[in-house]
Every structure is written in structure tokens, then in C-alpha cells.
């Protein structure tokens, strides 16, 4: 196992898959000559050439459509969004073409495409570039949606996404590109889509969180341990298909749930998780499921307001105490 950054792990996944399967190619803005806006595609043009690492104009709808067409005739494109907020321009291609062509052609066409790039809030990217874009995609039948939280997951899940025969929306995190972690070297290392992982075992409450919120939840768990509250943390990793059994198993163990997500709460991931927990584990709940979410507002540019909008370790701790009926609440 080598220690590397999340960015390097993604780069390694791309490189290995490009070597393994000549049908794989990368397309997007500045993925070639510039080595990627966030350097995820560093060195790929040099190794694989301009035929497989394709720079495009600023035209998300166009190059996403090129990718979908290529996928329909047998290639396995990896489309980079410089940030996932730009995928809004390509929404029709993703939602109405990629997600539906297999269904509408009676299975005659598969669309084995990966659309990847960073999403979610970072630092002072303001209203248009801070959105948790997964919510726009996991509603759509036909799409798989992945949000990796660690370098090893970034690599293992991206490789599975590229090998998957369905369109996969793979949303990385700008704030996690620099984090380091152990990553298996085995070129056959993959992590199956649709498998959650228990990041931390605990007795009293289950906190469900991914990407940046996962790290806030881990910090909250450390602090709550000192208060005698034992927190279990589940990282879904793939949001669709969601690993419902792992989450329900944890709820049956702890009986209390907090879902933390960076985006706004209304019809967010927490709403869906809360709904299936109520449907499947109602009699195991000792408290209502609590959601810790971003405030219902566009992301402000000002640092202090950005902080106020974003869920924090403290907000997660407060929610955990409430569902545990601690501190007399």
C-alpha cells in the first residue's frame, strides 16, 4: 500500500484503466495540455496521446454528447466537468440521453460513460460554484451516483465506475483533493458500487455522512466520546444505488440516527435516508431521525456567512445530543 493524495489516487485509477482497456478515453476542458484544472489528469496526455486525452472547447453539452455517442458505439468515455456545477449546462444530455437510452432502445444501446469532477462547497466559491450537485442526479432512474470520501475509495470506486456498463455520475470533492491516505497498489483493486462502509463503530447513534461532512462527523464523534456518547458512522459512498441494508443494520443496533449533508435539506439525501429508515426500521427508532444540512439559501461569498450556512462539527454534535436525549433536551 502506498500513501497518496485523493487527487493522485484518481489519477492512478484513470491511468490504470486507460492501460487496461483501450476503449477508455478522457474528454473535457483542459484535461490534456493543462493536465486538468485540478491536475487529476496530470501526465495522461503524455502517456496516452491526444487521441485518448481529448481537450475540448468550453461546451459541456457538446462534449458530454460526444461522450454519450461514443459510449453507444462501444467506447468507455470519462467526461470531466471542471466543476460539477457546469454539468447543469449538460443536464439534458445526462438526464434525457445517458440515463434513458438503454431503456428507450430496449437494451440495444448501453451508455458506459463516467461523468466526473469536483462538487460540493469548498472555500468562498460562492453561490454558483458551491452546490452539492448529487441531488440533481440521484433522482434520475438509470444513473448511478458516487461520492467518494477517501483516497482509497476514490481509486476503487472510479475504477468500478469506468468498468460499469451504466452511466455513472462521479462527484469528487475539491476540499479532499489534497488529503492523504493508504491506497492499494493492486491494479485489480476495485470497490463495488452500492456498498456503504462503517467508518467508525459505535453503540448509541448512527451518523450518516459522506465527503466533507464525513470528516466533520468523525471530529464530532471524537468529541462526543468524551461525553460518553458512542457514535457509529456510516459512509454510503454510492448514493444510488444506496446500500440500504448496511444503514438499516446500523440503525437496528443504535436506534438513533443523524444524517449530515452539505446541501440544503429540502428533498436532500437526508430526506430519502430518513424515509427508508422510517419505512424499514420504524420500531427500532428511539428518537426521530435528525438532519443536519446546509441552510436554505444560496451559498454566500463572505467567509462568516459561508460558515453560518455550512453544517459544522458543532451542529452535528448538537443533533446527536438531541437524539440521544442527552443534556436534558
Amino acid at each position: 500500500m502506498a500513501v497518496m493524495t485523493y487527487r493522485e489516487a484518481l489519477n492512478q485509477a484513470l491511468r490504470e484503466e486507460l492501460r487496461r482497456d483501450e476503449r477508455v478515453f478522457v474528454i473535457g476542458e483542459e484535461v490534456g495540455l493543462y493536465d486538468g484544472a485540478y491536475k487529476v489528469t496530470q501526465g495522461l496526455l503524455k502517456e496516452f496521446g491526444a487521441k485518448r486525452i481529448v481537450d475540448t472547447p468550453i461546451a459541456e453539452s457538446g462534449f458530454t454528447g460526444v461522450g454519450i455517442g461514443a459510449a453507444m458505439v462501444g467506447l468507455r468515455p470519462v467526461v470531466e466537468m471542471m466543476t460539477f456545477n457546469f454539468a447543469l449546462v449538460a443536464l439534458d444530455q445526462i438526464v434525457n440521453a445517458a440515463a434513458k437510452l438503454s431503456y428507450m432502445s430496449g437494451g440495444q444501446f448501453n451508455v458506459p460513460i463516467v461523468i466526473r469532477g469536483p462538487g460540493g462547497p469548498a472555500h468562498q466559491l460562492a453561490a454558483q460554484h458551491s452546490q452539492s450537485m448529487e441531488v440533481y442526479f440521484y433522482h434520475v432512474p438509470g444513473l448511478k451516483v458516487v461520492r467518494p470520501s477517501t483516497p482509497a475509495d476514490a481509486k476503487g470506486l472510479l475504477k468500478s465506475a469506468i468498468r460499469d456498463d451504466n452511466p455513472v455520475v462521479f462527484i469528487e470533492s475539491e476540499t479532499l483533493y489534497g488529503i492523504k491516505g493508504e491506497v492499494p497498489d493492486d491494479p485489480d483493486f476495485t470497490i463495488p458500487l452500492g456498498q456503504a462502509v462503517v467508518r467508525r463503530e459505535g453503540r448509541d447513534v448512527t451518523v450518516i455522512a459522506y465527503t466533507g461532512m464525513l470528516y466533520r462527523a468523525l471530529e464530532a464523534a471524537e468529541a462526543l466520546e468524551k461525553e460518553g456518547i458512542s457514535v457509529e458512522i456510516v459512509d454510503p459512498r454510492t448514493l444510488r444505488p444506496m446500500d440500504v441494508p448496511t444503514i438499516i443494520g446500523s440503525v437496528r443496533k443504535t436506534h438513533r440516527v443523524v444524517v449530515a449533508e452539505a446541501g440544503a435539506g429540502f428533498a436532500g439525501m437526508g430526506s430519502e435516508i430518513s424515509a427508508f429508515i422510517t419505512e424499514q426500521a420504524f420500531d427500532d427508532l428511539d428518537a426521530p431521525v435528525e438532519r443536519v444540512t446546509g441552510a436554505n439559501a444560496p451559498m454566500p461569498y463572505a467567509k462568516n456567512l459561508e460558515r453560518a450556512k455550512t453544517p459544522s462539527k458543532e451542529k452535528i454534535m448538537a443533533a446527536v445530543r438531541r437524539v440521544c436525549y442527552a443534556n436534558g433536551s
Binding site: D286, A287, C324, Y325
Partner: protein, 456 residues
Amino acid sequence: MAVTRVVMPKLSEAMESGKVIKWIKKEGDRVQGGDVLAEIETDKADVEMEAFGSGVLRKILVPAGERAEVGGLIAVIADANEDVSSVVGGAPARAAGAPPAPSPGEAGAPSRADERAPAAPKMPQREEFVTRTAPPPEAAVAPAEAPAPAVPSVDGERVKASPLARKIAAQAGVDLRLIQGSGPGGRVIRRDVEAAATGAARPALEAVPAPPAPARPAAPAAVAAAPAVEYEDVALSSMRAMIARRMPLSKAPVPHFYVTTEVAMDRAWELREQLNAMEGSPKISVNDFVIRACAIALLQHPNVNASFQGETVRVWHRAHIGIAVALDEGLITPVLRDAHAKSLGRIAVEARDLAERARARKLRAQEMSGATFSVSNLGMFGVTEFSAIINPPEGAILAVGAVRRIPVADEAGQLSVGRRMAMTLSCDHRVMDGAMGARFLADVKRLLEEPLRLVV
């Protein structure tokens, strides 16, 4: 809670009255919406009548064998302490010409005789629901004249309680209305029920100060030294509660049948001793042989490695084997995944690890579910043979007895001493039939009797 009037349903266009063939629920039984209350005879067919409300079946107004007009009141469902006199006191719904209600012969409920007489409705007495929430009748200890406990606000108000608290209270026979909730707005939560069930405050979170529990008399110091105490109600551990909840969900709805065989274990025993004598190899138990044999046989008999799904039967292509592990407080079944793809040694190592962590309560949630088949072995207790209850949604479970040394006769009638082991397969008849179970069992037996097949 509301009082639910149970009326004779209109089950066909032409139906004007119906006859109660049989009451499935007795007075005093707790019912939930959807429970079958009674069987009704119409002009066309016998139909099961379901309850539309939840509570206690307080009063049956039309006994079995009698008729009532469509829309006529035939029973009342309400909370145990609800005053139903105004409802019951109304006109009885029996069809004209029916004799006055005799005491229903099949009813064995511990209801009070005076409650049966519609003419003399009484205000509900508190001991009624104390009696009902006591352990079931076979305990035969609930004194009818139990003194009324202090009851905080019971009059028809819905008790606020978390779903988990409700479930635990129902299992432990604790009346939620007797508990002071410590959650927001007086919500009864798990720790309140646990404290009530054990008669002492027991905070769920050690470092969090629990709210003051209602003062209760201390439990008798030693039961043995107190001859006045005839019995003791032990609160269910969560594991015991889980077993109590799950097993009837198997035994009642799943039609079990059983197939038993005896295996000559002489060669397996010898092979095991050889393997265990090898330096550096993991210690292998008889049960590991059984698991390995089952895993191989399951892939050859997919209809045994299968789950009933209502409209379909799910046939598993991998053998995830649940291994029953006895604990002091109950039983747990960790799952050895992909057993078909694992060597005997690997199975031995993993099975031992699972059992040890099960005993230490260190299993992960995902290690306790997902089995496609289970093995339960009581050989270590000297049990010769037994039959096990299927763990749904699995389709079968193998119950394994001890390896015994017994006299056996060979083909020529010559007596010798051999090692024999009995195995009983419990099968879900919705998934498989006797011959399928028997063929599977024969293959498991053959694998164990020719144990080299287990190591190649």
C-alpha cells in the same frame, strides 16, 4: 384513543345479515388493525373479518353461532381503560328471533364476569389492564385483585412514546401508561422502559445524567431467602426479545418439514485427526466439515439454497452459511460468507473467529445477516439429534447432533464400533419438497462419508 365499533360487514350485494361462525379473538385480546377478528358466514361463503381499529377487544355482543344484521354492532374495540359503557349500552345488534346472549363457550379470556353483562356496564377498573399486561395466563400468577398502582394520567390520552420504547414495553409486558417519560414533552423513550422493566433507573448513556427515576421499592435482596416470593419476572434481554419476536415469525408462517439421516463419521473423524496433527494447520472441528459439506452441496442443490419471496423463489448462487453460536443470554447466528469458495482450513479459521467475536459481542452488523442457509450444532451438549427452526428468509437449516460411538452392523451382519452422527434438515415447504431436501441431505452425507471430497 377512539372506541372502534365493530359492525357486521356487508360482504355481498344481497347480504342482509350474517352469522358469526367463530370469534378468532377473545374478549380481552389485544388487536391491531388488520387482525382477523372473526369468521362470518354469508349466503355465499365463509369470510374472515378483519379489525379496522386497534386496542383491546373489550366486548363481544354477538356470540358465535348467532346472526346479526348488516351494519349492526357486534363487538367493541377500545383501549383497556376506556369507558365503553355508552357504546355497549346501545341496542344489541342480534337479528330478531335470536336467543339472548349466553356466555360464549369458547372464550377463555380473563375478563371479569360483570363486564359481560351489557345491562350493567361498569366503569373500567384499573386492575383490568394491570392483569392484561401481566405475563400470559400460563404464568397463572396475576392476582385478579392486584392493588391499583399509582397511575399518572391514563384517561384515554395517547401515550407519547418512541417506537422502540413501545416495542420493548410490549415485549417486557410493561404498561407504557405507568411510565413517566423523560424525553421531550414527556415522551417515553427506551431508557424509561428499561428502567421500569428492571425496577431501577438505568441510564442508556453512562456519562449522561439520567433524569430521576420514579422512586420504587428496592427489589428483594435474595429471592432464595424470601419464601414469600413465588416467582420472578425477569426483563427480557434485547437478544432474548429479538429471539422471542423472530421465532414465531418463522415457525408459524413457514410450513416446516424435517428430513433426518445418520452419517458414518469414521473416515471424517480419522481425516480430522490427521489434519489437526499437521504442524501449523488450523484446528478443524466436526462442524467445519459439516459447513464445508453443506456449502458444496448447496451449489449442487440450488433449490435448497433458496428463499421464499411471495411471488417468486430467490435462488442463491453463493452459499453464505449462518453458524448458530450459543451465548449465555441467547443465540446469535454470524454468517460465513461464500463458504462454497473457501477451503476447510479457511472455514475453520473464519468460523472460529466469528464464534469468538460473537461471544465477545464484537460482530459487525453486516456479519449477522445475509445467510442463505444455517447450521446449528448441539453436539457439544451430547444431543443425539434435534430439529431447528428456520431463520427466515433462509429456506432451510441443518441441525447436527453429537458424533457418538455405537455398535454398528455391516452388510454381513458383523458387529463393530463406529462413529455416527445424526443430522436433521428443516425445510420450508413453500420452497422445496421432501425429495429435494432428501437429495440434498444424501449429498451432504456422502461428502462427509467420503471426506477427501472436502479437501480437493
